[in-house]
Symmetry: D3
Subunit: 238 residues, 6 copies
């Protein structure tokens, strides 16, 4: 039924390539099938103005797509002179999600910037980004602790993200582009390691969805995220 | 328990002042307590490039806050030279929600732009905006049909929106600013007249929220939206 | 003769609604007939760089029109990425005029920003803005003195503004949009309470105007402004 | 009394250097004392969108200051990414004034752009610009008629501009920078060849000015402009 | 002597990974040692305005660096709202170089955009980009000819690029970051397959360089480019 | 053979008009034939952030063209909201070249900004700018030393710049616009007073150029620059 022949509750092959670039404190190429997002964590000894002098740090995210990450070339935002609404929306979501598992006081006056750059897009770039950022963040924190830039580990939870939706009337997990572009409903879920919600964003594309459809989708998401969290932990052991 | 002394499932006083300005095809000042949003609908005989020649119309939203709509003055986005991420996120949400109840083919090559300008903000500006836009949209469509600019009514549903959240451990409906700024969870829900979801966006601000908390919040939202839909219909009868 | 049936020297109904919004130090909805401008005064404990350390304060104005304040929708300046020339011209005029009646040394290192947002435009938005700003400024100053943020009252004069023009050969006072758009001459005058000029800006739209026409227009303006100043004082007594 | 030792009603030496650059249809370096403004007229066979298909042309002005035209270097507007309010205000004034003496229908669908670039500023750059633009415009029109790009001469009047002000209590003509920066009142007047007003913009910098002071200043301006108009005509004869 | 222990005339290991992403008409990850640049070619059936109706096509380049491609994070140009001078300079160089080997008439009204995005930077990103673009361009053209979008092969030459410089007094080939940042002279050379110059850009960073130093550097470049051209051809055979 | 009837190795008439404007620390109108560039040096007691506290100064350049410096009017970059790639490229070249002859430590925490504004363009604006900047810089430094703002002369070399190219198969010196626009090769060379290279930028416009053509062009450049350096010195003696 699915263009990819996956079962409704089947994730795409997931891969985390750690240490993908050599400079970033944490650098993970995250693949959800053909979706490839590079997640780089950078640490800088500065904080935004509203935190100066508070002893507290900050973590924020930026998101970008290479112009030809998609089937038709999109304009380069740097050349356009501004980031589009979709970009803004996604990077705000990623940053907010990550802050939910980080103790900003334990960071000290340090800013962690997580750059999520989409090399190739095939649906689910924001969920792949969030899921990969966790791995990159752990690598970055370990790095910074080894160098004594961080004394306490500020990460107090684990999180992953996946999309769910209703496609041809059937709830499915981890939509690829072909599914996403014709789904009736599209929802992105971010959960922590104990199955609680950090973020949930659902949109009816075709018809409005009912409470029971929501429940079914959330169950799919919960199981998918459990698997992703296991895969993150395995990747971090290698 | 609530700073406003409202019961957990109690909406703020809601008011729709129709025909608030004289030029717009539909113009409604929407009040949710001290939150005041002016919703103006403008019709223009043009469509975005990707729709040219398709016979189909478009509906989009723009959102702005007067600089002193809030307790401390925020910079004017026009002077800054760009709209912030929050503004983008909100206006995309409003536009997407309204498109869910409009048949774009029935519009013909007409664009409806809904301007939501916040005169005074006390929490819930986006939900007030969406709820008021419905009323303004009905007025605009009736106007355009009376002038034979529209032949068929393109509105095929009704929608309203409200926020829910968890405040001091208790799920509450329609958060005002004091509640919003210290809530552990904040969720905006858009539903149609038959209680189905058009959009759901929830964020854990403090701790991640569990499935049962989600269900309780969604029930609160459902009841609140039913009331709002009744109030919209009453306002349109006057 | 006038589309509005007013006598040549007749102002439109003028109304000042004080305390229009709840946060601003001074907040006045100013109406000149169907022209409605919200004037909000905000006080901030900062000054522009060129005044730092001088002990002197600043007062400045910003002006904006809601997109559908006019008969046809104009683009939102925030979305355009810049303020137009007309906006710049008007906000510079308002700021300059207000500075003429304020003793910046008595302000201390405080900035007063006056936001003039046009809810509905029917000609004369800048003159309504200036006239309403005076009322909002007085409210703001009283507020700040009550809170001991200001010790000395920095306002040393009163001012109001009105437009005059030549319409179908006849000098008239306080042009509305229909008059303004076909006037041969259009002039905005700002005067203080003793009938002296703070600002005068006149433009020949059709034919160049002669010295005697100028004198007649200035007489009209003088009388109009006297009335406006009385109305301001009455509004402040309520 | 004046820093320059001029009599109150004395203009600075005025010079028009025609054909200052070799490409522009009209090119005049205009000097009012040490103020030097290059006025270049360019003709292009296009009109703004709102005039397309009307058979009518357009004339517009742009204004700029070289960064070191003044005593201290100001930032380059191109590098800043936007034109300041003062620039906008001035170029709108110049364009409006020139349109008052041009029959746009006689232009055909042609746009004349007048670039006024200040090489050196010593007060009165906008009045020098307007006065020089007239000479450049005549040269441009003659050029275009010689090449049969224009059939009818669209110029139906002559105009010049000068500043007047009150300096140390005395009304003076054509203020230089030292006078301008400490004048109590500053007024720019644009008049045509029969002494009628095209534009008048006066600002009280120190105290508000009275009606009789206005009259005296306008008389000074009228005489100054008569002289400038004679000098323009002489320059055009050479 | 070189930090990398390379001989003065030794290139870094060079690798071209073709078909790196799946959507672009040509997609090559180009590696010069640790410098990694993704070169994606996109074909679009449009031309810039100045070519409309000429039957001629266009080829242009855009360049970007991921924020953490370097040792310290640089700001995202899309977030800054503009491309920096270095970016502009490089993308102009790449586009100009490629146009030197493409017959724009044979393209028809087609635009080829070459996106060069630096994943990791270790000196020589522009030379790696140009060299890799050739490979991506050949792939793209073959693709387009297979699909009959192109009838004639518009590529009439081959080109590659390398940097040379003087480091600690010795002319060296293909500088990496450590060499580049302390080189006395830095030169980028683009040559075609017969050893003729397409572009040469040299800068004295420390002391000015003499004619004989220039000659030695150009010889190094010539030999390096010959090798690169062989490697390109080999990569295209695979 | 050359449109200008010059011999292949013949410069255009060169003129340096010192003290062209009255405010700048150094101000030189530089003419290479019909190319006229105003070079103004401004000194400011500030340095860019990366130099704060280092005791070192900075020298930078900005470049602009008046809109009608050329045969057809180009858009004003300030109105466009950004500087184009060509502008950026040129001003970076000028700044880099000047820094090669200035000892930034001897400057102290002072910034010299060199504004190069093209009044009229007929090819070679960047080479005229660089050549004229040297003269303006000497004037500025002498000025600053006279005022004891500078204690030590930071200029430790002399430099000039000229273009060379291949036109109709023949290497020529100092291309004017007609030559430049149809040259097969175009090269800009910056050399110091001992004939060593500071910058060399060559582009094949038509066919790629061979090593021997390069040598011939560089010889032409060397001789041209020697002459320019003599003329600079003569101008500084006057």
């Amino acid at each position: 039924m699915r263009p990819s022949n996956r079962a409704p509750n089947e994730l795409r092959p997931v891969r985390f390539t750690r240490h993908y670039t050599k400079y970033a404190e944490g650098s993970v190429l995250t693949e959800f099938g053909d979706t490839k997002v590079l997640c780089n964590v950078s640490a800088e000894e500065r904080v935004p103005r509203f935190l100066k002098g508070t002893g507290q740090g900050w973590i924020t995210a930026e998101y970008g797509m290479l112009p030809r990450a998609t089937g038709t070339r999109s304009n380069r935002e740097a050349a356009q002179g501004r980031q589009g609404g979709r970009t803004m929306e996604i990077q705000r979501l990623i940053g907010r999600s990550l802050r939910a598992i980080v103790d900003l006081s334990a960071l000290g006056e340090l800013t962690l910037t997580v750059d999520c750059d989409v090399i190739q897009a095939d649906g689910g770039t924001r969920t792949a980004a969030i899921t990969g950022c966790y791995v990159a963040l752990i690598d970055a924190v370990n790095n910074l602790m080894k160098k004594s830039i961080l004394i306490h580990n500020p990460i107090h939870g684990q999180l992953a993200s996946v999309s769910v939706g209703i496609y041809k009337g059937i709830p499915i997990l981890d939509l690829d582009y072909r599914e996403d572009s014709s789904a009736e409903t599209d929802m992105n879920v971010v959960m922590n390691e104990s199955g609680a919600f950090i973020e949930i964003q659902g949109t009816a594309e075709g018809h409005a969805f009912r409470m029971n459809e929501l429940y079914t989708m959330l169950d799919l998401a919960k199981n998918g995220i459990e698997t992703l969290i296991t895969k993150q932990s395995q990747a971090l052991l290698r």
